[in-house]
């Protein structure tokens, strides 16, 4: 079940705007990764590499204190990015965060290997980034649950309107007829309800 709240021009897809408003740099990174995913574009990958390799190396040096291991981390992370780019789903977040999580996971497995001498790759079970980018949008699902959890904060009249329109998918006119109310009343109740839900969700995400 997907709850979409788009009412008049008030489109609240409930995402934290701070994460979605990408600055120029992040937009470039997103478009490079998309080019790698769709066209196996080597030039775009080289740009990604130029940006991320020194950062991954610095992170690796911090974690491992060894140049060779830090360089391993660069190589393996960027190889995964090259090979698995097609799994990146821009609707779920920034390209840079996706690359960061791939590095983070590989780093965890490397540290395990150093400690236990075992070739475990357990990180994908702990942080399912690579394999779990399925079309079934878990993120929507979570936001729906979050949204539904706030329905209780509405007045009974507001809740009734939201449920009828978004869960039972009635039109505003149908609902007005059903409740024997003027259409304007339904609209204003809905508007109030949505602005209340919106502020609740923003409070959650801040």
């Amino acid at each position: 079940m997907i709850v979409r709240i788009a009412h008049n021009s008030t489109d609240i897809t409930l995402n934290n705007t701070k994460f979605n408003s990408l600055d120029g740099e992040q937009l470039k990174i997103n478009s490079w990764l998309k080019l790698v995913a769709t066209k196996q574009d080597k030039q775009a990958f080289s740009e990604l590499f130029k940006w991320f390799a020194p950062r991954i190396r610095a992170h690796g040096l911090q974690r491992f204190k060894q140049e060779a291991l830090a360089m391993d981390l660069v190589q393996e992370t960027m190889l995964l990015v090259w090979r698995k780019a097609v799994l990146f789903n821009a609707d779920k977040g920034k390209a840079s965060t996706w690359i960061y999580t791939i590095m983070r996971n590989y780093c965890f497995d490397m540290l395990r290997k150093k400690q236990t001498q075992k070739e475990d790759t357990i990180s994908d079970d702990l942080w399912p980034v690579i394999e779990q980018q399925t079309p079934d949008d878990n993120n929507d699902h979570l936001q729906n649950r979050l949204l539904l959890s706030h329905l209780g904060s509405l007045s009974l009249q507001q809740k009734q309107v939201v449920e009828a329109i978004y869960l039972q998918e009635m039109t505003q006119q149908e609902l007005a007829t059903h409740l024997d109310l003027p259409l304007g009343t339904v609209k204003s109740r809905l508007r109030l309800a949505i602005s209340k839900l919106k502020s609740k969700l923003e409070a959650d995400l801040d």
């Binding site: 994460f19 790698v36 390799a53 020194p54 992170h59 840079s96 965060t97 395990r112 400690q115 079970d125």
Partner: protein, 216 residues
């Protein structure tokens, strides 16, 4: 309804891959059951990613041969169907499906002591040990304290102790010297992480102190 959650510090360490495996499994399995903590963790990861990108880096490192090596590989052209390794277990006559974080551990060896069954999951360095514990219905674990901390993640069923009632998904962190007597009416399956053996404190159950070694 989950009432007990990991602290923000734990979520931050987990997201930064800085916890020992035993604790990361616990946080990861909790996240699978808890949408609130998942939302918080996503924000934490985004912040860590931003910090990672904001690092000062030297541009004098030569990576050129690495890029050529990477291009020797062929990228995947489509999303392959996800392999889901579901880990199902059978213990004390009950069947359970373990959270994804346990997918790796398909070779669990159960040992039993009365109403308690235990399977070691990981033994980390630094003396941390983690086990799955199954407790039969209408059973209690004798009153005990912990020398270190004890983390219990409730995977199935419910239990209660002096401090309250716990439900599926609850992430219960107890620091040392807290004495408690867990009891389960329904029977339960937990994942427990401890950094020192249990000590049984009351009456005859002190004779059970070897049991602390079993559970630990």
């Amino acid at each position: 309804m989950i009432k007990y959650h990991p602290t923000q510090e734990l979520l931050i360490s987990h997201s930064g891959a800085q916890l020992p495996l035993s604790l990361s499994i616990a946080v990861s399995a909790h996240l699978e059951m808890c949408s609130e903590c998942t939302t918080v963790t996503k924000k934490i990861t985004a912040q860590q990613s931003a910090l990672f990108e904001a690092q000062d880096v030297s541009n004098n490192v030569n990576f050129s041969s690495m890029l050529d090596k990477i291009f020797e590989h062929k990228p995947d052209l489509q999303v392959e169907p996800k392999k889901t390794a579901i880990n199902r277990i059978s213990v004390a006559g009950n069947n359970y499906q373990l959270p994804r974080a346990f997918s790796h551990f398909t070779d669990l060896k159960w040992s039993s002591f009365g109403a308690i069954s235990r399977a070691r999951v990981v033994k980390d360095t630094d003396n941390i040990r983690a086990s799955l514990l199954h407790i039969d219905k209408n059973s209690a674990i004798p009153s005990h304290t912990h020398k270190g901390y004890e983390l219990t993640l409730l995977l199935e069923g419910t239990f209660s102790d002096e401090n309250g009632v716990y439900n599926k998904g609850d992430f219960i962190w107890l620091d040392n010297d807290l004495e408690h007597t867990p009891f389960t009416k329904t029977g339960c399956l937990c994942y427990a992480v401890q950094d020192a053996p249990l000590r049984f404190v009351s009456g005859i159950s002190q004779a059970l102190n070897p049991l602390g070694q079993l559970i630990y």
